[in-house]
């Protein structure tokens, strides 16, 4: 299942946040959206997931999601959004409960996703006992449990320290390599974008418009920490964003 944005614009009151966005999210690829803060990248993601309506333009779903897909468009949030009163298993189970699956099937799904995110032993733990990286792995497990057609990731690693971020990026790459998934990955971290993105969309500052789309052809598994080619790409992206970011930083916020 692909996603397509056609001429999407949006404004909050008098503030125009997005203008004329055209974008294609092809199946099996990770599309990264980068841009200075306040450029509307998270808004764009929420629109893709149907949590917000654009003022104009269309967001289209091309083709049908796979039959066993319980929630085609699935978010992973920056702040994890785990229920603190439910255990790791309970948090994953939450998103399966409304689908009327038989008990055994539900347990099998939970066991599978916990194994894939290396959380099998922590099933009974409460979120408050987990480190930030583990919490985000629980959120990833929860997202995998509904077998999404497209994962919508809203700065999933931004709340983590840099070592944890590296580890989780490796985890994400391993997950993708085992079974390619489609994802839209919003971040302000260019290093994440060049490690994980097949396509990197650079947005300008408010109102957000697409400045450039960079396609990376190196397979994800071959991208290493501190790779020279990636470094060059990152430099190029930073060149595009630098002035925008500086200008965005100096803007007053009156949303």
């Amino acid at each position: 299942m692909d996603l397509r944005l056609q001429n999407v614009s949006h404004s909050y009151g008098d503030t125009e946040v997005l203008r004329g966005i055209d974008l294609e999210v092809p199946s099996g690829q990770i599309v990264c959206i980068v841009g200075p803060s306040g450029c509307g990248k998270s808004t764009l993601l929420r629109m893709l997931g149907g949590l917000e309506r654009p003022a104009s333009g269309d967001i289209l779903q091309l083709g049908e999601p796979p039959a066993d897909c319980l929630n085609p468009l699935t978010f992973i949030f920056q702040d994890f959004a785990l229920l603190p009163w439910r255990s790791v298993r309970g948090n994953v189970e939450l998103v399966l409960e409304d689908h009327g699956l038989p008990r055994a099937k539900r347990d099998a799904i939970i066991d599978d996703v916990l194994a894939r995110t290396k959380l099998t032993e922590f099933g009974a733990a409460l979120p408050k006992q987990l480190s930030g990286g583990m919490k985000q792995r629980v959120a990833i497990a929860r997202a995998l449990a509904v077998n999404p057609a497209v994962m919508l990731m809203d700065e999933p690693l931004s709340a983590l320290d840099s070592q944890t971020r590296e580890l989780l990026m490796d985890d994400l790459i391993a997950l993708w390599t085992r079974q390619p998934f489609t994802a839209v990955y919003v971040t302000h971290n260019l290093a994440e974008a060049v490690r994980l993105g097949h396509k990197i969309v650079v947005l300008s500052r408010r109102p957000g418009q697409i400045r450039e789309v960079v396609e990376l052809t190196t397979p994800l598994a071959e991208r290493q920490y501190g790779d020279a080619g990636l470094e060059a790409q990152q430099q190029h992206l930073w060149g595009l964003m630098r002035d925008e970011a500086a200008a965005a930083d100096a803007e007053l916020i009156n949303v």
Partner: protein
Amino acid sequence: MSDPAQPVSFRGGGFVAQRRRGVGLAVFVVLLLLAEWGTRTGFISQLTLPRPSDVLATFGELYQSGLLFKHLIPSLTRLIVGAAIGASLGIALGVFIGLFSLVRAGLVPLIAAIFPIPKIALLPLFVIWFGIDEASKYALIAFGTFTPTVVATYAAVDNVDRTLIRMGQSFGLSWRSIVGKIVLPGAMPGILSGLRISLTIAIILLVAAEMLGAEYGIGAYILQAGSLYDLERLFAGVVILSVLGVLVSGVIGIIERRVLRWRV
């Protein structure tokens, strides 16, 4: 550098609630001993304060004569029935106010208008509506428990983390699941601390209702004792109320520790 070395003075600490066992009990014991000592030595005259041991003796008589349960059981029934009706209606309405802007816009001013009414002033009205029997007492206690519960509940619902609700929506959870599995558990801390206040109010109203028209009940017992200036019996009644208050608070504390184990 040859400056003299000095330890950095400590200025952190404090401002943390810690659990200390037995201190509350010690305060009670010290106060009681003080009263006992004062009345025995004559430092406090018998007219000002009854001697704690006499109150205890009166309490013993009350227990032996079987009158204790004759007073206590109707009181407890009134308290449990009234508070259960008031609290459950209050929680339900509070959740509705928290969830629907229309209900909120319509009812919050009404709640604000009835909150400050001393509910006991409405007892004659309740007597006309529900009769002189138990029903009017239940209604009074329920009404008094209801308003603080509503206010605490909708404030608690407002405080539920919106990102969790958005998460529920993004996974396509049904409205019922979002309310039952995200909103209600998230509001539970606020609801329980609201119950602490409203159940105490329920005890106060119980006594007031029984003073105005009941043959048996702790309130009636206190009123009888008071009109005879029988301070020992008066205090025996008051002690029962205090114990009731401590019990209610303790039960809520147990529920909090059970239900809110997930809290840091």
